[in-house]
């Protein structure tokens, strides 16, 4: 039996479409965690938070350990706003979940690199790709059709085998 299932049970799909935060009122406290300063989404949120006089702390992307400790100290009612690149967001959400936060208790603005991972139906190799619809597997050479079928465990999209005799679309 392999990898701890906490990994998937508690890992969730990161919504990359959100560009702005929506302030959630009536929370004990808000923690705003930003990878960079002067992000528009964060500035806007800060204005709203200050206007309402809500309790908050703004944290720069500091040491991993410090953030993990901060998360672990929180009481029920703390709400997280996370802004960063996919890599950072993955780290932070993993730490947040470990501390006991759920999807309902955070918002994420994710920006930057538009790359994604693709899982080869034939050999299970995972490679990083851009926005192509079809690619060749770097490991086995099979022609793959990129699908929207996503696995959190593998953090990858599924690449269906494409047959040379067809124009794709019917491997399903």
């Amino acid at each position: 039996m392999k990898s701890d299932n906490e990994k998937i049970v508690n890992k969730f799909v990161i919504q990359t479409k959100r560009r702005k935060f929506t302030f959630v009122p009536n929370r004990r406290k808000s923690i705003i965690l930003a990878e960079e300063t002067n992000l528009e989404a964060v500035d806007e949120l800060l204005r709203e938070v200050k206007n309402r006089g809500a309790a908050y702390s703004l944290i720069d992307a500091g040491e991993k350990k410090e953030i993990a400790d901060l998360f672990a100290r929180q009481k029920i009612g703390t709400y997280l706003y996370l802004a960063g690149t996919p890599q950072r967001i993955k780290e932070w959400t993993a730490m947040a979940v470990k501390a006991g936060f759920t999807e309902e208790e955070m918002q994420i603005v994710c920006y930057g690199a538009e790359e994604q991972r693709l899982f080869c139906a034939h050999c299970h190799h995972i490679q990083t790709i851009g926005k192509e619809d079809a690619v060749q597997c770097a490991h086995c050479g099979m022609q793959l059709e990129v699908s929207s079928h996503y696995s959190r465990l593998h953090d990858a999209y599924y690449g269906y085998i494409q047959l040379p005799c067809s124009d794709g679309g019917e491997s399903r």
């Binding site: 039996m1 299932n5 049970v9 139906a121 019917e170």
Partner: protein
Amino acid sequence: MNDALSRFPFPFKKGTYDYYANNSIPLQPPYSIEVTPAYQHEIHLKRRLLNKAHSRCYQSLSHTEEAQWEVVELVLHHLTAAYPKEFLLHKEKDNWTFINQLTGEEERFVFGDAASLPFEPLDFVGRHVQEDLILMMQRDAELFLEAGQLCFPGNWSLVFKLGMTFHEIHEPIPGFFERGAADKIRTFLLHMEAGRPWMRNNWSLTAGNFLDTFPETYHEWGIHRHRVTVDNAGSLIHLRVEVQKLFRLPGTQGILFTIHTHMLPLKQLVRQREWLHRFTQVVTQLPDEIADYKGITPYKQPLFAYLHKQMEGEKEEKNEIRQ
């Protein structure tokens, strides 16, 4: 009807098929397994696949061991209750001896002690049944695919689906979410009770008589989809029916999902004229996106032509009789 035909679980009660309905019905008798005349052949095939490409056919996550033992308990009890001559189980406290007369095997193990088995519990018990066994765990009102032994997949990957929720598993199915089917079926599953098992049929078509249609080997079996002609459709195309059964495990709250796959070449199907009629109606009315999903599109033309010919042939026969 010959024997193979009479035991084939033909899925169409009428000439229409509601793809998005919860077509589950209470399972009677309440057994998770069925032994058919193909037992020896399929067990042999299963074990060959498991030996050749184990990770493709077997996956599990940690924390599933207790539920896997529950599956062992349930499946072995069903085997011995349904087929007492073929399967025997002796228990002395936790020391179990399982005898499979069909394979001539005797398995001794300590129930609950994984080290006393040559494989993980689910992998062990799956080698004695024709069914594929999928274990869904229920955690915080969500269902996750956390273990499975799958040798006869209908073109889906156990490795890739491992860890997925019910909704994530079904993501590739056209229209499944838009019509609210996914939510309704998940709610049904979340509330399923121990002691009240359910069954449903799922159907598809396969070009070629392959049980082991793995997506990993699609380039080998998928090419037959492009080789169908009016003349070979009857022997090449098979109606593939999966009899699926659902059991709530009372101790761990998991759900055992068993899949027994049956294949019937169209040339045998068309001999049952009522089946031919219903099948033709359902297949010709199938929405394009579902036909695409089931992989029928590449041979839709020759298939329809073949069915048309069979129906026509039937008319001619009738006319001849009338004349």
